[in-house]
C-alpha cells in the first residue's frame, strides 16, 4: 500500500507501470480497487495512478473534506506531491465529476478526460453557450495589436436563472439554414465579459506596439449555481443509504473481485454520501463539461439505474459546436461498464489515450448505439 499525507491526513494510492501518467478516480460506490484491471491493462504503456478520495477506501475520513470541492483540491495536491505535471484522467461517477472540475480550472495540467457514468443531470438550461477555444499551451499572438479584447463565456456566481429555453421541453430545437456559420437560429448564447462577478479583472486591449504580449489564456470558472437551480437527484439517491447496500444494488455479482469491492464500499465514511450529495446542489456538471477546453469522452451505460444516462437534448447541449467532445451510450451497460465488459472498455480506453484527437476514435458498432 502506498500513501502520502496531504493536509495532515493520509491519502492512499496505488501505482503501476511506466510511461505517460494516467490518473484514475473512483466514484461513490467503492474505492480505487475497481481500477485494478484497467491499471493492469495500461501498465505496459502508461504509469497509472489510482487513489482513494477523501472518505473512501483507505484515505482519510475527515467529515469536513467530503465535498466535491475538497476532492478537486485533493486531486491537485496529489498531482503536486507526486510531481505529476500533466496527466490523462479517467474518472468514474463522482471521480469523473472531480476530474472535469479540475480540468476546467487547470487545462494546462490535463491531457484529456474520460468520464464514465458522470453525474450530468437533465435540466432546462436554454441554448448552449458558445464552446470556448481549445486550450493551447502557447497561445498565439493576436493578428493585430488593435484586435478587440477577447470575450469569454462565463457563468457568474449567483446567476439568478438559467436562460429560458426557446423550445418546449424535450423537443429538439430546429436547426438553422445558416450553414455558412453553422449556427442554428435558436442559438442565443449568453456572452458575458470577464468581470467583477467572477472576480476576474476585465480584459484590457493590448497597447499598440511592434511586439504585443500574447493574449492570456481565458480563465473559465466552474459552475456555481444557486441550490435548486439545477435538479440534484443525488439528494434522493445517496441520502440515508448504506454504501455497501447501494453497491450491491448496482454491481453485477458476476464481476471479478465482487466480494472485495463490497468490502471496500464498507470502508466509506458514514457521512460521505450526504456531504458529497449536498455539495452538488451548487454544481451543474453539464455546464462544466460544456466549458471544458480539452478533449472529453463521456461514457454512460444506457441501463444505468443509479445515474441516468443523458438524453438527446442534453447531449445536444454538450456537443453543440464542438469537435473535442463525444458521448458514448453503451448498450446494455449499467453503472460499471469497465467491470461489466472489461475487454471492450479497455479497448476503448487504449484508443482514447492514443488517438490524436477524438475524431480518430473508431467505435465498434456492436457496442456503440449513439455517438456524438
Amino acid at each position: 500500500m502506498s500513501a502520502i499525507t496531504i493536509d495532515n491526513d493520509l491519502v492512499h494510492y496505488e501505482v503501476l507501470g511506466r510511461g505517460r501518467p494516467v490518473i484514475l478516480l473512483h466514484g461513490w460506490l467503492s474505492s480505487w480497487r475497481y481500477w485494478i484491471p484497467t491499471m493492469q491493462q495500461l501498465s505496459m504503456k502508461y504509469r497509472t495512478y489510482a487513489l482513494d478520495l477523501w472518505g473512501y477506501g483507505d484515505s482519510g475520513k475527515d467529515p469536513d473534506r467530503l465535498t466535491l470541492d475538497a476532492q478537486v483540491e485533493l486531486l491537485g495536491n496529489f498531482m503536486e506531491k507526486l510531481g505529476i505535471t500533466k496527466a490523462a484522467f479517467i474518472g468514474h461517477s463522482l471521480g469523473g465529476a472531480v476530474m472535469v472540475r479540475y480540468a476546467l480550472k487547470h487545462p494546462d495540467r490535463v491531457a484529456r478526460v474520460l468520464a464514465i457514468s458522470a453525474p450530468v443531470f437533465e435540466a432546462e438550461r436554454g441554448a448552449p453557450p458558445p464552446a470556448p477555444p481549445p486550450f493551447t499551451a502557447a497561445p498565439a499572438r493576436p493578428a493585430a495589436p488593435s484586435a478587440p479584447a477577447a470575450t469569454i463565456v462565463a457563468r457568474p456566481a449567483g446567476l439568478p436563472d438559467a436562460p429560458a429555453r426557446p423550445q418546449a421541453e424535450g423537443v429538439p430545437p430546429a436547426r438553422s439554414a445558416d450553414s455558412s456559420r453553422g449556427t442554428p437560429d435558436w442559438y442565443r448564447p449568453t456572452v458575458l465579459h470577464r468581470g467583477a462577478e467572477q472576480g476576474i479583472p476585465p480584459t484590457v486591449s493590448a497597447p499598440a506596439s511592434p511586439a504585443p504580449a500574447p493574449e492570456p489564456e481565458p480563465q473559465i470558472a466552474p459552475s456555481n449555481i444557486k441550490p435548486g437551480q439545477i435538479p440534484n437527484p443525488l439528494n434522493t439517491r445517496l441520502m440515508g443509504i448504506v454504501p455497501r447496500d447501494l453497491l450491491e444494488r448496482h454491481l453485477d455479482k458476476a464481476v471479478a473481485d465482487y466480494d472485495r469491492l463490497l468490502g471496500e464500499a464498507a470502508k466509506t465514511a458514514p457521512s460521505a454520501f450526504a456531504a458529497s450529495a449536498r455539495s452538488f446542489d451548487t454544481v451543474d456538471l453539464a455546464w462544466d463539461l460544456r466549458m471544458i477546453r480539452i478533449p472529453v469522452l463521456l461514457v454512460h451505460g444506457d441501463e444505468d439505474g443509479f445515474l441516468i444516462p443523458p438524453a438527446q437534448p442534453l447531449l445536444d447541449y454538450l456537443n453543440h459546436g464542438r469537435d473535442d467532445f463525444r458521448c458514448v451510450l453503451w448498450p446494455g451497460a449499467k453503472h460499471f461498464p469497465m467491470l461489466e465488459d472489461p475487454a471492450s472498455f479497455h479497448r476503448l480506453v487504449s484508443d482514447f489515450l492514443e488517438a490524436r484527437d477524438l475524431d480518430d476514435l473508431e467505435f465498434k458498432e456492436r457496442w456503440i448505439r449513439k455517438m456524438r
Partner: protein, 125 residues
Amino acid sequence: MARILIAEDERDIRDLVEFTLKFAGHEVFKAANGAEAVELAPGVRPDLILMDVRMPRMTGYEACRALKGMDDVKDIPVVFLSAKGQDVEMKTGLEAGAIDYILKPFAPDELTRRVAEILQGLGLS
C-alpha cells in the same frame, strides 16, 4: 493467502505480477534474477516460487537446481514462467525440479487463476 517469491528480470512484468498477486490477496516478494531468488528464498521461506527462465546472472533452471540442492528450501515448489511454444524448455524446467509452468504471455486474471489452482493442488489455499 500465500507467500510468493517472483523471480523475473523484466521490471514491467515483475511489477505487473507483483501487483496482480498482491491484490489477489497474496504476500509477494521480488527478485530480479535467479541468483537473487536463491539468496532471498531461505530468509523469505515462500510457499511458492514463480521463476522466469531466461534471466541474467543465473537462469531460472540454474536457480531451481540450486534451490533443490539447499536443505532448508528444497521443498518449496517452483513454477516456471515459460514463453509459449518452448516445449523443450518446459521439459528442462520440470527436470530441474519445477512442479508446473505458466505460459507467457498471460493475462493478469489468468495468472491469478493458475496460481490459485496450483496453490489448491498443493493444499495451500
